[in-house]
Amino acid sequence: MKNEHLNRREFLCNSGKSLAGIVVASSGAVTLIFPSTGWSAQLAMLNEHESKTLLNMTRQLFPHDKVEDKFYAVVVKALDSDAAASADTANKLKAGIANLDNLAQGNWNELSADKRGAILEKIDSTAFFQQVRSKCVTGIYNNKDLWDHFGYEGSSAEHGGYINRGFDDLDWLPNPPEADSPKAH
């Protein structure tokens, strides 16, 4: 099914925005791939400054205080892989990062969070911004290692669904009458 595969890839590329890609990180591998320091040395295309900039940018776009840097680094790694696969993508990423520094009149990373945010707002309609943003949507929220943090339990069929595991365990509102919501049979 070579044709179908190509078409799917084309669809995903062309659909842009939030449907732009399916992720990257396989469950459980995050810590192995990204020890707390020195991870940027493993990147193929992005230098240390560029990877640090993207790391700060991804966190600033989707801030979750209790989510460790290594999870944002998964997104940077995925962008690096895209850059390795396409010279055009690599150029766009590098140019986008350089533009952040231009707008910062120095190193964007060294500005205050507010100033960094103001610059991101200026570029939020650029292809660079959307590329990073859409990669975050899948890279952060489709990362199974983070689902517990968000209270999402994932696949349930193998556990017998939720019929006996709390599908109706909410107790801070009145229960509907049986006519509206019958008991399970």
Partner: protein, 522 residues
């Protein structure tokens, strides 16, 4: 399973195996009529389904390229994904949520009842609720719809509890766990619902009705059906007299075959069905098959939709249990004092975390958005589904230059919201917000429409041949052995989820086809 030769011209060829095509195939086979069911997608089983949103989407969704235009927000957010429908045996019945509501009497007479609405191409259906009632009853029994045929309603989940509490505080009366084609107890060889929470990804317990594991195997058991999966129909062919004579399709390797037919029934959903008729243009039918009215592809409807999500101080876990767990039906009435014609339903909905991130506010980022997802397990949600106005300019057309993997022009889907649609959506957002605020919401999100799941109207039924594509039995006005068998035959959209009516029309159409075959009229 039957094996029917390519040159055998005695069978009925049905294109598409979803709610319309899959049901029609079974109904015809039960009457002893030979059927070839062509499905573009693969033949998966329940065991193949995955409780994982992105991989499931890749497995089931129709991903062939499409383009969009118009002022609808889907064109901006998902320019190559106008619809979230399926390419797999069973079609979108693998993905649907199961809501099974009858269209209301007045909704079949939209032109008469709503009067003249500027820029709306309204006509009445060429049939009435009374005509359909016996067939609705058969469909509800076949599908095992809760709250019909003595079948109990499903138990409400946490998401429903939140909606119910808010709705009752607001004074809504008709709030319950809905009429769902999901078994609340074992029935017809299918299990009871396990509250798995992945209705959209294919039901792993088989509790939800899908043609994949009901109609299609039942049809195969008669010995009258040949199902050919990964068989993508490119053109419907006709003879010198103008009657359809067969279909040209590509198999999984891209090899093309011509299957002869006595009757052809098109059931590829409201984008592919008109696209196929348009792609079948010939010297005899230069504007496409069954298109003397010029209405093929026009009057595209997709329901006035939107969602309301809200976060609460305490946990909800809305994703546990049935995706569409309950309904508020009070707003489905005709009441122009609200500022629009037609009505809408409010139905609970949940998305898993991966899709919530993609759909809650497409294109968004920043702290407010992140904070909402940080509260994901404290979130409740509902979907709005209401009647949108048919407009001639909202249409499926062939792309001027882009071709698919088989060399056929891809479809473009154009949609502009009608002012009635916008007024209805804004009203529904306001009511949905009030429901959740009454239940104690911290924050409320008005989520824009997802890619369309209810695609309707592009080969509509009409009394007069000049107003539409087919008659009240789905038989095209121009070609008597060519039928429309999916939601594209809907004359208007009504407020209700369309699957039950698609199945109902398919059962009725099977009776008509058998009768016409018996009389040698076709």
């Amino acid at each position: 399973m039957a094996k029917i030769d390519l040159n055998d011209n005695s069978a009925v060829v049905i294109i598409g195996s979803g709610a319309g095509g899959g049901t029609l195939a079974n109904e015809l086979c039960q009457k002893g009529i030979k059927v070839i069911l062509l499905e573009a997608g693969k033949h998966h089983s329940i065991a193949d389904f995955v409780n994982d949103e992105w991989p499931s989407f890749s497995q089931l969704a129709w991903l062939d390229k499409r383009t969009t235009s118009g002022d609808w927000r889907v064109a901006k957010d998902f320019p190559n994904l106008p619809a979230w429908i399926c390419k797999t045996v069973g079609g979108t019945t693998t993905h649907w949520a199961g809501a099974s509501l009858r269209i209301q009497d007045h909704e079949f007479r939209a032109e008469t009842h709503y009067g003249n609405i500027d820029d709306a191409n309204l006509i009445d259906w060429p049939l009435t609720l009374k005509d359909l009632e016996p067939y609705y009853a058969k469909a509800e029994d076949k599908m095992g719809v809760t709250r019909t045929n003595g079948i109990p309603g499903l138990p409400g989940n946490n998401n429903f509890k939140v909606m119910h509490a808010g709705a009752k505080k607001l004074g809504y009366k008709e709030v319950h766990t809905g009429r769902m084609a999901i078994n609340s107890r074992p029935r017809n060889g299918r299990a009871a619902c396990q509250q798995i929470g992945f209705c959209f990804q294919g039901c792993k317990s088989g509790a939800k009705w899908s043609t994949l594991y009901t109609e299609i195997p039942a049809a195969e058991a008669t010995g009258n059906l040949e199902l050919r999966s990964e068989s993508h129909v490119l053109q419907v062919k006709h003879d010198a007299d103008g009657k359809v004579s067969g279909v040209l399709y590509a198999d999984k390797d891209g090899n093309q075959h011509l299957q002869k037919a006595r009757i052809v029934c098109v059931a590829g959903n409201s984008i592919e069905s008109p696209r196929l008729l348009l792609n079948s243009a010939s010297s005899l039918y230069p504007d496409g098959l069954a298109n003397s009215s010029g209405q093929v592809g026009r009057n595209y409807m997709r329901h006035t939709t939107g969602s309301v999500y809200a976060t609460f101080e305490k946990p909800v876990y809305m994703y546990r249990g049935t995706t569409m767990a309950g309904i508020i039906a009070d707003e489905n009435r005709y009441d122009t004092s609200r500022g629009f014609a037609g009505g809408y339903e409010m139905e609970t909905l949940s998305l898993g975390l991966p899709f919530m991130a993609a759909f809650l506010d497409p294109g968004a980022s920043g702290k407010k958005f992140s904070d909402a997802l940080e509260d994901y397990d404290h979130m409740a949600g509902m979907w709005i589904v209401g009647e949108d106005m048919p407009q001639e300019k909202n249409r499926v057309t062939l792309h001027a230059s882009e071709k698919d993997q088989h060399g056929q022009p891809i479809p473009n889907v154009h949609f502009d919201d009608h002012k009635n649609d916008i007024a209805m959506r804004n009203h529904a957002y306001k009511q949905g917000t009030m429901v959740y605020e009454a239940a104690g919401a911290k924050t409320v999100w008005e989520t824009p429409p997802y890619p369309s799941t209810h695609n309707l109207g592009t080969n509509r039924m009409s009394t007069k041949a000049g107003d539409g594509v087919c008659n009240g039995f789905g038989q095209t006005h121009d070609i008597k052995n060519l039928f429309i068998s999916d939601g594209s035959q809907f004359t208007t959209g009504a407020a209700e989820n369309p699957t039950l009516t698609i199945v109902t029309l398919a059962i009725r159409q099977a009776d008509y086809i058998a009768e016409q075959m018996g009389k040698k009229n076709i």
